[in-house]
């Protein structure tokens, strides 16, 4: 707990102020994001929910420097990133941000362990160190025995776990996940759910965009979006047996 307190003094990992994103122009102008203020604290897991087209994926792309805002600010720790050059943004994405996508985005020609070590190699680590780190991460996601398999030889859930291991490769400040279980059946969703829960428990900072209520329920904080804005925000209690016994139909 004391480490959490000291981290809290450091401030936010991610912060946006007055974030705006518009697409098109004239009559076709769409306000995808409308003055969004977000603070994500170190070690916090934030889930963002909302109907298709509410702006939640756009927000995630702006947080990760994959797109640029039309207005407002994005801060990663104490650095403002919305005005960085393309080159600086690309470097920042590789080093400081772990991305997890709905469609996994693994390189099909490379084995699981080669996919996981790729970010470390690009960041300039030695092949030996990168491989050791990749093997550790595969163990962490429970796929040690699948290290030499190609993505095509893995189930959807296993592929997403490889993608999550890859996202952890450079010890990112934050992991941004866009519908991580969108392509998975319920058994595979449960595997990813357990993994996200363990990452949260280990103190990783997570921002997850999801339709899946079970994934959202792993978060510390839940934000609902509509029409490009936050409309409802809840700190999930993860409380004791009290509310649970009521839910289960036992006497309180």
């Amino acid at each position: 707990m004391s480490s959490n307190e000291s981290l809290a003094r450091v401030g936010t990992v991610l912060r946006t102020r007055g974030l705006e994103k518009e697409y098109g122009h004239g009559d076709g102008l769409v306000h995808a994001l409308d003055s969004v203020d977000l603070d994500v604290m170190p070690g916090e897991a934030v889930a963002i929910m909302g109907p298709s087209g509410c702006g939640k994926s756009t927000l995630l792309h702006l947080l990760g420097g994959l797109e640029r805002p039309s207005g407002g600010e994005v801060w990663l720790e104490d650095r403002r990133i919305d005005g960085l050059s393309e080159k600086a943004l690309a470097r920042l994405r590789r080093k400081a941000i772990g991305f997890v996508f709905q469609a996994f985005h693994l390189l099909e020609e490379l084995t699981a362990v080669e996919n996981v070590e790729m970010p470390a190699l690009i960041a300039g680590r030695s092949p030996g160190a990168a491989r050791r780190r990749a093997k550790e991460l595969l163990e962490q996601v429970g796929l040690t025995d699948r290290a030499e398999h190609l993505p095509s030889e893995l189930s959807g859930g296993q592929r997403q776990r490889v993608a999550i291991a890859r996202a952890l490769s450079n010890e990112p400040l934050v992991i941004l996940a866009d519908e991580p279980t969108g392509n998975l059946d319920s058994a595979a969703t449960l595997d990813v759910l357990r993994l996200l829960e363990s990452l949260r428990a280990d103190g990783h900072t997570l921002v997850i965009v999801t339709h899946d209520s079970r994934i959202a329920a792993t978060a510390d904080r839940l934000i609902s979006m509509r029409d490009g804005a936050f409309v409802e925000e809840t700190r999930l209690t993860h409380g004791s047996a009290g509310p649970l016994s009521e839910l289960a139909g036992l006497e309180r």
Binding site: P51, S224, E232, L236, T237, A241, S245, A248, R252
Partner: protein, 194 residues
């Protein structure tokens, strides 16, 4: 917004929940007579983390109540190195009650009608945006899901209490899916009227 929930709770027979525990205690005594302590241990195993809500006294109070109602009898058994203990046994009336309970197919009532009517009324009277009411309700259910899910994930795979928790999780998911349908419907309805 919380008002209707309180009303329906107040209308519920006050003994309703405790009633469930009564039947369960009777059923746990159906095979053989047992100490209150053993009965409580079996209940704890079945409920896992949920057993925290059942305090120890409640089991003994309920057993006493069942005895007064003629559904169980008790005998005091002396123990060499500890205080005497009561051993509880089912009466024929108690046995009949257990059989009735096992045959009863009443299902705990999920109550979407009240929430549905709340949305209809809010929209009709222009009191509030139904979509916002759905959002708030969704967050409340997700808070419950978060609690139940974390408890479920903490149980080992073969846990009998884990099965109960999975039931809680799945029912909340079903409610949340219906809320999504509510949000879609009222969102489209709102857009047509604008």
């Amino acid at each position: 917004m919380q008002e209707p929930a309180h009303v329906s709770k107040a209308e519920r027979p006050p003994d309703y929940q405790l009633g469930v525990v009564q039947e369960v205690l009777l059923a746990l005594l159906a095979k053989e007579a047992a100490h209150g302590y053993d009965v409580r241990a079996r209940l704890q195993l079945a409920l896992g983390p949920l057993a925290d809500a059942l305090n120890a006294g409640q089991v003994y109070v309920t057993l006493n109540r069942l005895e007064r109602a003629g559904l169980v009898t008790s005998t005091v058994v002396g123990q060499a190195d500890r205080p005497d203990r009561k051993v509880y046994e089912l009466t024929p009336a108690g046995r009949d009650r257990v059989r009735e309970w096992l045959d009863d197919t009443t299902w705990p009532k999920p109550a979407p009608a009240e929430f549905h009517l709340k949305l209809v009324a809010a929209a009709a009277a222009g009191l509030a945006d139904p979509v916002r009411i759905v959002d708030s309700q969704r967050h409340a259910l997700l808070d419950g899901l978060a609690v139940a899910q974390r408890a479920a994930l903490a149980e080992p795979n073969d846990s009998v209490a884990g099965l109960l928790l999975e039931g809680v999780v799945l029912r909340l998911q079903a409610d949340l899916r219906w809320l999504e349908a509510c949000a879609r419907f009222w969102n489209e309805r709102g857009e047509h009227h604008e």
